[in-house]
């Protein structure tokens, strides 16, 4: 069964233009994909359909086979956890612990299960020792991890993150990449919206490119990230590594493969270079 199935989805906000114009896509269980596109392409509007926050005006969205128009947000939220871009907008508890425990209490989990799960989630996201602090006193990076904790704690099958790397330094991005790797190993379906082409090209295997409410391209990461024409249409540039490899090919004519990571690029370039000394 597909994790998500979107069939000819049309949507507009009241009194506005069409924001989504006939989106169709399928996401298999355990897949990881990134949705990219210029500001205003409709990415956030699309993911709000995945837990029923928005309902299609035409077409339909199926979450594990469930039609989002026939199920409540509360029900769908157990399957789909969304981490929105600005964590400040979602916190309301007095302590980090209560913030994380909130959804479990809502789902009526017994107290000992709550205790166990909150503790485990704190440790996975490196938030131990902060359980008694107010969410609003955390640093930007910690707030983002707390927002992710609030979703991971109830163990949804599908995890969606909106611009998770904005304002994050390289070390924090590395931590996020590790968490994503772990979630993949657990068989979770992971979807991110991101402008950070360097981050997603290293961590996601499929890319969906959106432009003006439609899907412009949908394919493997190396195919999309080396396709200058499509990237430009979506107001994106190639990841630095792809850019370097494309330039090398243009100048020297031959490059084996389409590396996405710095390490792989070095391997490919080394094979082109004739043996040289140290300097």
């Amino acid at each position: 069964m597909e994790a998500l199935k979107v069939e000819d989805l049309w949507f507009r906000y009241e009194g506005g233009e069409w924001v989504l114009k006939g989106i169709s896509m399928k996401v298999s269980m355990g897949e990881d994909l990134a949705i990219v596109g210029a500001n205003g392409a409709g990415k956030t509007t699309l993911i709000k359909h995945f837990n029923g926050l928005l309902k299609p005006m035409k077409g339909r969205v199926l979450v594990l086979g469930k039609d989002t128009r026939k199920h409540s947000v509360a029900e769908l939220s157990k399957i789909v956890g969304i981490v929105f871009q600005n964590p400040l907008h979602m916190f309301f508890s007095n302590t980090v612990w209560e913030e994380i425990a909130f959804s479990l209490r809502n789902f009526n989990f017994p107290e000992e299960v709550i205790e166990k799960r909150v503790r485990k989630t704190l440790s996975i996201l490196g938030l131990e020792g902060m359980e008694d602090r107010s969410p609003f006193t955390l640093s930007g990076g910690e707030m983002r991890r707390l927002a992710l904790a609030c979703v991971l704690v109830y163990d949804p099958d599908i995890i969606i993150m909106d611009e998770p790397t904005v304002g994050q330094d390289p070390l924090q991005k590395e931590i996020l990449a590790e968490i994503i790797k772990m979630l993949k190993l657990q068989g979770k379906t992971i979807i991110v919206i991101s402008h950070d082409v360097d981050f997603i090209s290293e961590n996601f295997s499929r890319i969906v490119v959106m432009s003006k409410g439609q899907i412009l391209a949908d394919g493997k990461t190396d195919e999309i990230m080396y396709d200058t024409k499509i990237l430009r249409e979506a107001n994106l540039v190639e990841p630095i590594i792809a850019k370097i490899m494309i330039e090398i090919e243009r100048r020297f004519g031959r490059v084996g493969g389409r590396p996405l990571r710095t390490f792989d690029a070095i391997r490919v370039i080394r094979s082109l270079v004739r043996p040289v000394g140290g300097e």
């Binding site: 210029a38 360097d198 690029a265 300097e279």
Partner: protein, 279 residues
């Protein structure tokens, strides 16, 4: 000529026990393009807030040492006087935009200086032209894309004719193409003689334009110098940051190369490779 100088500068925010800045002594010369990097929470934003007097005049806390802007001690000067020298652009342009059209926005500063109509008009035209946004003159700032908004924010600072432009993660919310174009426009300003000080994580984009890099960690300046020097020393890797990918690839291929040969941009990397790759 020295634009900004700090002498044994330390600062601790009111209510915090940990100093945000520790004993910082740096010099920024007129005409330089300075890139400030460091992990989240290292004090980058705090440091640049001392350059226009926001610290200590607006943020409460304990400041030691001195900040000298064009020969004037910021402690003995008003923020409004300092704004003649220093213009500041923040991460989120929306917080900086206040009026109904782009033209009014850019005219706002000069109007408050009590300049003549003709002078204001000249300044507005200069600023719009420099940021290449003349076509947005009559648009509503809030309806623009975030890249356009940030250009408007810069134009509205430029119209004050500051000698130094300080930008704190200005591209954080931009899509990659907008960010790339925005940084190009900063390069143009620098070529015209404007001093640029920028806090940014997008090292790959900016490094080729920077004349100086300042590296911060835990409130201290841990390294500074010409970009090639700093990116060859290996200090930034130890605090979890990455040099430009062009530098990483080069260092992997040629381990013992002299620091002044390290490429900062893709073009420079390719020039090096053309000596190595056999046809």
């Amino acid at each position: 000529m020295l634009a900004i100088k700090t002498e044994n500068l330390s600062f601790t925010y009111a209510g915090s026990r940990v100093p945000a800045l520790r004993n910082i002594s740096i010099e920024i010369k007129e005409g330089e393009f300075v890139l400030i990097i460091g992990p989240t929470g290292c004090g980058k934003s705090t440091l640049v807030r001392t350059f226009n007097g926001l610290i200590p005049h607006f943020y409460r806390g304990e400041m030691e040492g001195r900040v000298i802007v064009y020969g004037v001690d910021t402690r003995e000067s008003k923020v409004s006087d300092l704004s003649r020298y220093i213009g500041m652009v923040f991460q989120d342009p929306e917080n900086q935009l206040v009026t109904l059209t782009v033209e009014q926005e850019v005219a706002f500063g000069p109007e408050n200086l009590g300049l003549s109509k003709g002078d204001i008009k000249r300044r507005v035209e200069y600023s719009l032209r420099t940021m290449k946004i003349e076509h947005l003159k009559f648009r509503v700032p809030f309806e623009l894309s975030s890249g356009e908004q940030q250009k408007v924010a810069v134009a509205s600072i430029l119209s004050m004719y500051p000698r130094v432009l300080i930008l704190d993660e200005p591209t954080a919310h931009m899509d990659p193409l907008s960010a790339y174009e925005f940084i190009q426009s900063l390069k143009t300003l620098n070529d015209e003689g404007k001093t640029i000080v920028i806090v940014e994580h997008r090292i790959d984009f900016i490094a080729p334009f920077a004349t100086k890099v300042i590296v911060m960690n835990n409130g201290e300046v841990v390294d500074e110098g010409e970009p090639r020097e700093v990116f060859s020393r290996g200090i930034i890797e130890r605090i979890g940051l990455m040099p430009p990918r062009a530098s990483i690839i080069f260092k992997a291929l040629l381990k013992n190369s002299a620091w002044n040969k390290i490429p900062l941009s893709i073009e420079e990397l390719l020039d090096t490779l053309s000596e190595l790759i056999s046809y």
